[in-house]
């Protein structure tokens, strides 16, 4: 099996992602405007919100891959699900780290039970259980199928979790993400650019992780 980056397409993608990432970082640090009452803390949002987007995208892919595994019974869907779950959870962890860093100077507290953050925390904990389930052995073929079901029910539960937390305490200040749409162009376009960079980075990471899982499966296979 070829090394992942021996494939020209993957190598080009890596170069593009690297360049875009650096450009994004420079843009966030030096060129995005400073908001009067939030200063540097606000800039975390250019990382925090795209991380959340990518995290949820990952979990969505876990759900779709789960459905496809149950229908087609093709192991590649489980590889995709596992890869998406790992990357999604990584970005969710990033959300849970950057969220409090932003929240402290803005809200005066490192944590509030705001709907998006709460949904992120719940899913993060659930997926820790998902990985433990996958690790605790037993028949790998059964684990794959049942993990697919876990991935499906996790994501169908997301709107319920979100709504219930939202109704729980409507006075809790929600993310300013909603207000993003009303922001001036220099903030909005930078945000959208960061969102795109994170999405392309996610695609590259997903492809690479699937490749690694394939390699691991090949080495484990008893021919």
């Amino acid at each position: 099996m070829k090394l992942f980056f021996q494939n020209k397409k993957n190598l080009i993608l890596l170069i593009i992602v690297s360049i875009l990432f650096i450009v994004n970082l420079i843009n966030i640090i030096f060129f995005t405007p400073m908001i009067a009452d939030q200063h540097w803390a606000q800039k975390i949002f250019y990382v925090h919100v795209p991380s959340a987007w990518v995290g949820f995208l990952g979990y969505f892919i876990v759900m779709i891959s789960g459905f496809m595994l149950l229908i087609k019974n093709d192991i590649k869907w489980d590889d995709t699900a596992l890869a998406a779950a790992e990357i999604g959870t990584f970005f969710m962890a990033l959300v849970l780290i950057t969220g409090p860093i932003w929240a402290k100077p803005i809200w005066g507290t490192t944590w509030i039970w705001e709907p998006r953050l709460t949904t992120t925390l719940i899913l993060f904990l659930y997926y820790m259980g998902y990985f433990m389930f996958r690790s605790f052995g037993g028949n790998i073929e059964r684990i794959r199928r049942q993990a697919a079901v876990l991935g499906i029910i996790a994501f169908i539960n997301v709107p319920i979790i979100f709504l219930s937390v939202q109704f729980w305490d409507p006075e809790i200040q929600s993310h300013p993400q909603v207000e993003m749409a009303n922001q001036p162009p220099e903030i909005l376009y930078s945000f959208l650019f960061s969102l795109s960079v994170f999405t392309i980075m996610f695609i590259l990471m997903l492809k690479y992780k699937v490749h690694l899982i394939n390699l691991k499966n090949l080495s484990n296979k008893n021919v």
């Binding site: 019974n73 790998i140 073929e141 499966n217 484990n220 008893n222 021919v223």
Partner: protein
């Protein structure tokens, strides 16, 4: 009656079954043999739809057994190594439930009569957790006797039985043969297989090496 076509199954990344194919006519008694770990029990559990293979198909009475339609298994009866019954329930209760799952209820008098025949009537109201291995095997035989089926999948029918029990199984096999019933049995004893089976399937490393 039964057609097993290119069944593949991996179990914890080991290839347990590698393209198993065979067919069985109505009224045949087939002995499934092989070393420990060769895939005999796995094959039976796949036919019984307790597990699904990675690929392949199994046709039984013209229906695809591996589909989700549970009614295709109506005339198929599976008995594994383990009792496959509820430890807190009595022999009578277990039989009544098991038969209700097969759309076949039997009057309690008939159940009692069969339990008598299999020398379990003295324990018929005790929870089966107190049963010995041999008694549990007899209970399984009673279940077979009371059920209606066209194909029986029986994993090691002689396990734990005393001489009387073995004779009972012999009598049952004769009865099944007379009634043109189809049976697949996992057996370890070559001599016994020769005596009772019409056909022998030897599995080794997930492949059939003798048919």
């Amino acid at each position: 009656m039964l057609s097993v076509d290119r069944i593949y199954k991996t179990f914890n990344r080991f290839n347990i079954l590698n393209g198993i194919s065979f067919s069985q006519q109505e009224g045949e008694i087939l002995a499934l043999m092989g070393k420990n770990g060769s895939g005999k029990t796995t094959l039976l559990r796949i036919i019984a739809r307790i597990m699904k293979p990675d690929s392949g198909s199994i046709l039984f009475q013209g229906n695809e057994l591996l589909s989700n339609n549970s009614l295709f298994r109506k005339n198929l009866l599976y008995l594994g190594h383990d009792p496959g019954m509820y430890s807190y329930l009595s022999a009578k209760e277990n039989l009544r439930f098991a038969l209700s799952f097969r759309y076949k209820s039997q009057p309690i008098t008939k159940i009692q009569k069969v339990l008598d025949r299999f020398e379990l009537s003295g324990f018929s109201s005790e929870p089966i957790s107190v049963f010995s291995k041999g008694m549990l095997q007899r209970l399984k035989l009673a279940y077979v006797e009371l059920s209606s089926w066209d194909l029986l999948l029986f994993d090691e029918p002689f396990t734990g039985l005393d001489k009387n029990g073995i004779d009972l199984v012999g009598q049952l096999i004769k009865k099944w043969r007379d009634k043109n019933k189809t049976v697949i049995m996992v057996l370890h004893n070559e001599h016994r297989a020769k005596q009772i089976a019409d056909k022998k399937l030897l599995i080794d490393s997930g492949k059939i090496i003798l048919d």
